[in-house]
């Protein structure tokens, strides 16, 4: 997602720089174009939007569509903001999985396709499995969402699912995240304390 480009497109209307004049009438009651404004208002003073001359019908639609487009992008960015991959919510992390499914589905659809079996590494949705008690197992829940997406595809006819249990090397790879700690017991005259 190109956040930079999106944000520069959000409300590309010049009135954003003048919040005093930012009213809905700016968008739905079309204002004059720059050249028209010059012709109708040679003094150069900006007129209130409601009293400004209307544009032809077609230009009015363009202006309104531009507003709705901006609104859509704005909402999209808001949603994206909520779903940032900070370990808590991983909304957009599902899209790489769906892209894999889409790519494989294209191959499966080809005439005389060489694809015989698509094996997808998945996990059960633990939110459902725990009947809503645990909702933070996003690693599991995201995989379950992607699997549902796979089942809607033609590709599913050639697919199988593999759930891998807990990797035995998780403790080496992730250490303290899995709750592992190596404790050194130092003996002091007053007794033993645990550190590190």
């Amino acid at each position: 997602m190109e956040t930079g480009r999106l944000s520069s497109n959000i409300f590309p209307l010049p009135c954003l720089a003048r919040p005093r004049n930012l009213t809905f009438s700016h968008f739905f009651h079309c204002r004059s174009s720059k050249s028209q404004r010059h012709l109708n208002n040679p003094s150069g003073y900006r007129q209130p939007p409601l009293s400004s001359p209307r544009l032809p019908r077609r230009a009015c639609h363009l202006r309104r569509n531009r507003f709705l487009g901006s609104l859509f992008l704005y909402l999209l960015r808001k949603i994206q903001g909520f779903g940032s991959c900070d370990g808590r919510v991983c909304f957009w992390c599902r899209s790489p999985g769906k892209n894999i499914i889409d790519a494989a589905d294209e191959v499966a659809k080809e005439e005389g396709s060489v694809l015989e079996r698509f094996v997808f590494s998945t996990l059960p949705g633990f939110k459902e499995q725990s009947k809503g008690k645990y909702t933070y197992a996003y690693h599991f829940d995201s995989k379950a969402v992607i699997t549902e997406y796979l089942k809607e595809k033609e590709l599913w006819e050639k697919s199988s699912l593999l759930n891998m249990g807990f990797y035995t090397d998780n403790m080496i790879k992730y250490g303290s995240i899995t709750g592992a700690a190596k404790v050194r017991i130092s003996v002091f005259p007053l007794g033993s304390i645990a550190d590190e």
Binding site: D86, G87, R88, E116, R117, V119, T122, P124, F126, Q129, S130, K131, K133, Y134, T135, Y136, A137, Y138, H139, F140, W156, E157, K158, S159, S160, L161, L162, N163, M164, G165, F166, Y167, T168, D169, M171, Y174, S176, I177, T178, G179, A180, A181, K182, V183, R184, I185, S186
Partner: protein, 101 residues
């Protein structure tokens, strides 16, 4: 480390069985699925074990004594803040209490 001890703190009962899988076994499971009819849903397990057995093997291999402690999800969250600790803890807790379906 001399005089050290490994402590594994995790939610769920110590006796709860979990499906452990050795990453190198992946090919075996995929091979099985490739030779089977489609639409299978396989749980790949190298060995079902509880964390006491798991840490016993760990100690045998490393020569360092170990201990398994039961903690709450909240304690795990506080130990590794930011959500990742809670995610790992809830995964283990779900496995211990509800199984894999």
């Amino acid at each position: 480390m001399e005089g050290g001890v490994y402590i594994l703190s995790k939610p769920g009962k110590n006796e709860a069985l979990h499906p452990f899988v050795v990453p190198a076994d992946t090919g075996l499971f995929v091979g099985l699925l490739v030779r089977s009819p489609p639409k299978q849903n396989l749980l790949g397990v190298s060995e079902m074990a509880n964390y006491i057995e798991y840490m016993k093997i760990w100690s045998e291999v490393t020569g360092v004594p170990s201990e398994v402690r039961e903690i709450s999800v909240q304690e795990a969250d506080e130990a590794s803040p930011g959500g990742i600790g809670r995610e790992a803890a809830e995964s283990t807790a779900t496995s211990a209490e509800f199984g894999w379906g």
